[in-house]
Amino acid sequence: MDFNDTPEEAEFRAEARAFLAANAEPKGRSRPVLRLGDMGADAVQRCKAWQAKKADAGLAAITWPKQFGGREASPILQVIYQQEEEHYAVPRGLFEIGLGMCIPTMMAYAKPEQLDRYVRPALRGEEVWCQLFSEPAGGSDLAALRTRAERDGDDWVINGQKIWTSGAHLSDFGIIVVRTDPNVPKHEGLTFFFLDMKSRGIEVRPIHQMSGASHFNEVFFTDVRVPDTQRLGAVGQGWRVSLTTLMNERLAVGEVHRPDVEDLVELSRSLMLDGTAAIRNGAVRERIAEWYARTQGLKFTRFRTMTALSRGQTPGPENSIHKLVNAGKLQDIASYGMDLMGMAGLVMDDDLAESYAMFQQALLSSPSARIAGGSDEILRNIIAERVLGLPADIRVDKDRPFNQVPTGKR
């Protein structure tokens, strides 16, 4: 075990530091960058400009193959870059899905000339990608999706609806999984494509979320034509391709949620409880210690994973624990921070609220963190079945043609 940098790692760290110092603003205890908030045109421009800088410096895709603009470097260098970037307030939130999930799926299944066309613009932030998976009837049970694609000459014609599509309103391209054969069991009748989000027949409607913001969308498809050349994987193999995407999702960079335990430490230093700073209170200290231990445990779990990956092991279902722990912790810290504020904990006005109202905002946005990208319940199922090897749930739909599977009213 060694937490010190190797000479190669130290050299890379110095490079990352120099790049960040020259190009980004140090964070301090600044206003946090909002997750799942509205992203205005200014913010989009800032994200794109930052991404281009990062890509040009060779820091946007550290582990990718060189032919696609990467460094083919160890995931440990990726961790080092993140450690350094954490000290800076950089614009985020526009490219995680495209670069973390869509493009890796393209790399596994698209034709070389398509990769030449799409990968670099995505990496430089010139083109934004989204992932069109969930549907009104297919959320946790993703393979129950109903959006249809029918073959028509050299094209496929898509009709149906997707939902919870992050950033669809800002995207240029998307990856999509659709049903091409309803007469076979659900996993066998799916096919995977990528498409142009500006195609005729696509309508994007933002969802007004409980947090007040609109980050997710409904996407409607009416006779949308997609050339067969944009199919990824064989007809009927869409589920298998989806698993590639989801595997990459587990590897996607763990975001630093705010407020984190350090924000709670700051808050409890500044607020009074029983005539003294709240942090002197034993009950408060216990909670801080518990969240700190969970935070550190996740951080070092990631380091263990990176060490394993750097030795050529593939990421497994054990990585499901990151989102499961993080999302619940975020919701709990948000709620607890507000408790410490007492009656004023309700207030979100900029001029009055503690800590830029980040606790209140997180209270309202954190429910989505526990649902999006695999709900807590699905993640526990994955751990139970794929890590611990417990029996799969009994499924009444597994061997039936999809069009004979019972459905409810909602």
Binding site: D2, G282, I288, G297, T307, N381, I383, L388
Partner: protein, 371 residues
């Protein structure tokens, strides 16, 4: 960065697991639990022969020189096997106290005996109820003689000497080496929730007390000792927790109810997934503690407190949910669930309980932030 044990240490772990599966099945812990012997003496001798007792003792003092990462690897396996031996008391606490604070002469005299198993040490801190705190140290050494009582002392009933935390004539806290001879140290074995590990009350009556080392020591030294032991015990806890999860998993696969294995119900699956998560977090924090202990870096105190909190919570959760997964049969004397449940609580209290360590953890965050 390389955040994994070396291949050599993984080999050591595999060997230790094979050895303990054979030599320390649950019946061995049960034998001690039921009062047939105070500790598993045969197992202890084998451990001495394999060099485990001196794993972290420098070779010049008769140790195996495996280092602290090696000791961590062994601790995890001993925890998994519920090995009923005075390893924690003798190797993590008494041995470490001598390595940390002993004079050269004391090291030359004591470490070889601890390494070969001819001496068993223990660590006497508590004087009744209360977590580690300098105000709770009242015993005093006057004119080289110690009087008063310490309890509970882990493995105090089987040790030949104790490292005693006491005050000197100037009221300074120090560590004192005391031989446990019947005339001046009368011992009573205590009834506890985990009889698979000895706990004693020791009444000193003018026992000869030799100060460890020459320099003044103070409470900080006690804290350092507790931190180092906390990392090692965290590995025992992780090992024990993992054994619980394996037991619960096997039972959930075999036991049928409502026509299906109970492990196919989400009520059980999600419970065991939560146990898995707690163990992974604890394991990662313990690894960081192992690195900090081994590299002896400034991060050790915070790393140790974090590992301690995580591992204590994980073993508690795993051991209680193992019983719950078993249902009624898990509450019987004959099924091994209770051995882990008992050990979980014993280790949770061994070097100070959660309220102490959580408070200490936040102290250390505050110190770090002030820097």
């Amino acid at each position: 960065m390389n955040f994994d044990f070396s291949d050599d240490l993984k080999l050591l772990r595999d060997q230790a697991r094979r050895f303990l599966t054979e030599q320390s099945p649950p019946e061995v812990a049960r034998h001690v639990l039921e009062g047939h012997e105070p500790y598993a003496a045969t197992l202890w001798r084998s451990m001495a022969e394999m060099g485990w007792l001196g794993a972290a003792i420098p070779e010049q003092h008769g140790g195996a020189g495996l280092g602290y990462e090696g000791l961590c690897v062994l601790a995890e396996e001993l925890g998994r096997a519920l090995a009923p031996v005075p390893f924690a008391a003798s190797s993590y606490l008494a041995t470490e106290a001598i390595i940390l604070a002993g004079s050269d002469a004391q090291k030359r005299r004591l470490l070889p005996m601890l390494a070969d198993g001819s001496a068993i040490g223990c660590f006497a801190l508590a004087e009744g109820a209360g977590n580690p705190d300098p105000d709770n140290v009242r015993l005093r050494v006057i004119g080289g003689r110690l009087s008063g009582s310490k309890w509970p002392v882990m493995d105090g009933g089987v040790a030949g000497f104790a490292i005693v935390v006491a005050r000197d004539e100037a009221n300074e806290i120090g560590l004192f080496l005391v031989e446990l001879t019947a005339a001046t140290a009368s011992r009573r074995n205590l009834t506890t929730v985990d009889p698979s590990r000895n706990q004693a009350s020791i009444e000193f009556a003018g026992a000869r007390a030799e100060k460890l080392g020459m320099a003044p020591t103070g409470w900080q030294l006690v804290q350092r000792l507790l931190e180092r032991a906390a990392v090692l015990i965290a590995f025992e806890q992780v090992g024990g927790a993992e054994a619980c999860l394996e037991m619960a998993r096997s039972y959930a696969m075999e036991r049928y109810a409502f026509g299906r294995p109970i492990g196919s119900f989400q009520a059980i699956k999600h419970k065991l997934a939560d146990v898995y998560v707690a163990i992974e977090l604890a394991r990662s924090n313990a690894y960081y503690g192992a690195w900090a202990l081994s590299a002896d870096v400034a991060e050790l105190p915070l790393a140790a407190a974090t590992a301690r909190v995580s591992a204590t919570e994980a073993f508690h959760l795993a051991s209680k949910e193992n019983i719950q997964t078993h249902g009624g049969i898990g509450f019987t004397w004959d099924v091994d669930c209770h051995l882990f449940y008992r050990r979980s609580k014993q280790l949770a209290l061994a070097v100070g309980a959660l309220p102490y360590w959580k408070n200490r953890l936040v102290d250390l965050i505050e110190t770090r932030n002030a820097a």
